[in-house]
Amino acid sequence: MLKSYFIDVKGILHDFPILSRKINGHRLVYLDNAATTQKPLQVIEAVNDFYLKHNANVHRSVHTLGEEATELYEGAREKVASFINAGSEEIVFTRGTTESINLVRFAWAEKYLEKDDVILLTMMEHHSNIVPWQLVARKKGAKLRYVGVDKEGRLKFDELERDIAGSRILAITHCSNVLGTVNDVKKACSLARKNGVLTVVDAAQSAPHIRVDVREIGCDFLAFSGHKMLAPNGIGVLYGRKEILQEMDPFHGGGDMIKEVFLDHATWNDVPYKFEAGTVNTGGAIGLAEAIRYIEKIGIENIEKHERAVTQYCLETLSKIEGLLIYGPQEAKGRVGVVSFNIKGAHPHDVATILDRNGIAIRSGHHCAQPLMNHYSVPAMCRASFYLYNTLEDVDRLYQGIKKVKEVFG
């Protein structure tokens, strides 16, 4: 295996037993990390340790297990808060990015959005940062406007600058899950703030890969998913500025989010508990905290540099293939490790199937970004996406796999 210079991949590979699996006779090359990442043993063991030794309901029970579970859960919240430079009470645990954004839709937008207000999106949003806004816009008579994407796959910032003034909400992804583009969300949020526009940043594809600092970005809300950053399914984060969380309506009604319940009404608990109704996913939160510890041990800057090296090599390697078209920025700068492409004459699903026969897992489809697919006039794309355990050799395997595709569909 080629040595990469920023992460000792050989040294961490035994943390991910699944990566030694054989698929159709070949060692698995897992290049579907933008969909979900694999989980290191450390994370699995942290979750197991909770269930085997400390499992109880949090907040509600004063017995020893209950106290331990509460400390672990609130400790996980502190870990997440420090990871993105937020306050603990600004961290709401959710199921994932999708639920986080829907929470803002239900608890902020349903309350404050008014008829003819404009929600400004971008053409490179994931469905989970589009559909919630469509739903609330229809309900409240608000309008959607989209910032375009240029040929290179970059946001048309001049359109954002033009349209921000008349808007009420800016919903913008930090990194595109299709193009890999890193958007300057700091600049976008600063423009928004000057115009009194609420900002919702989708960090699903950034938090796992590059440093995310909510104070520096200056956003009102920011959402990401644990499962895309080494943690188990079912846990995610909504960061919200404290003052905004406080003025919001609650989301789900139920246990733990209330202070007192009477027959006809109830009063709400403090933030962030107001938004965490019912039994929380303590195991998931503990897993996410351990995943962050794993990321911090390697260093998020090292992860970023490592992935940039792999991405650069991938862009160079694939661009040698005739009839292969790469979408998005053609160099690794200002980009995360997501490389989408199409091969002339071969449908993405056929490409994915042939690669899978060779042990290579990529994603094919619309990547939950149909507006962007329509922008490029394709129904689907192939996508290879990297994480800290991928190597240059994985890219070579992808290259060889694509050559086999071309043998069939050439």
Binding site: N24, A346, H347, D350, P379, V408
Partner: protein
Amino acid sequence: MSSADIYKEIILDYYRNPRNFGKMEKFDSSARDSNPLCGDEIEMQVKFEGSKISEVRFVGRGCAISQASASMLTELAKGKDVEWVKNLSKDDILKMLGNPDLGPSRIKCALLGMKVLKQAVYSYAASKTEV
């Protein structure tokens, strides 16, 4: 080659040169469906003589499996009775394709054509009973 089990020459041939591709001016029934995972799309138009299919054509876009499967099915269906279509099963389609080794999501591609043909036939049958 390890992909040979799915992408047999015959499937690739039907993908590259789809038989019965195109639209008819006059037909008795038509149907259209898509596969949200792949974005595969198939539309079929059917002419009947009594309870028999006299002609069937399709248009569509998508992966080799879905397009070849739809095209092969149009050939098979010609001259068959409405009942034959109603009784078509997953296994029939897989046999038609030469029993490729398809996972559960790719099977949906293979079955899209059958789904559309059945819709066309059922809506034709429904229109007849109404008369």
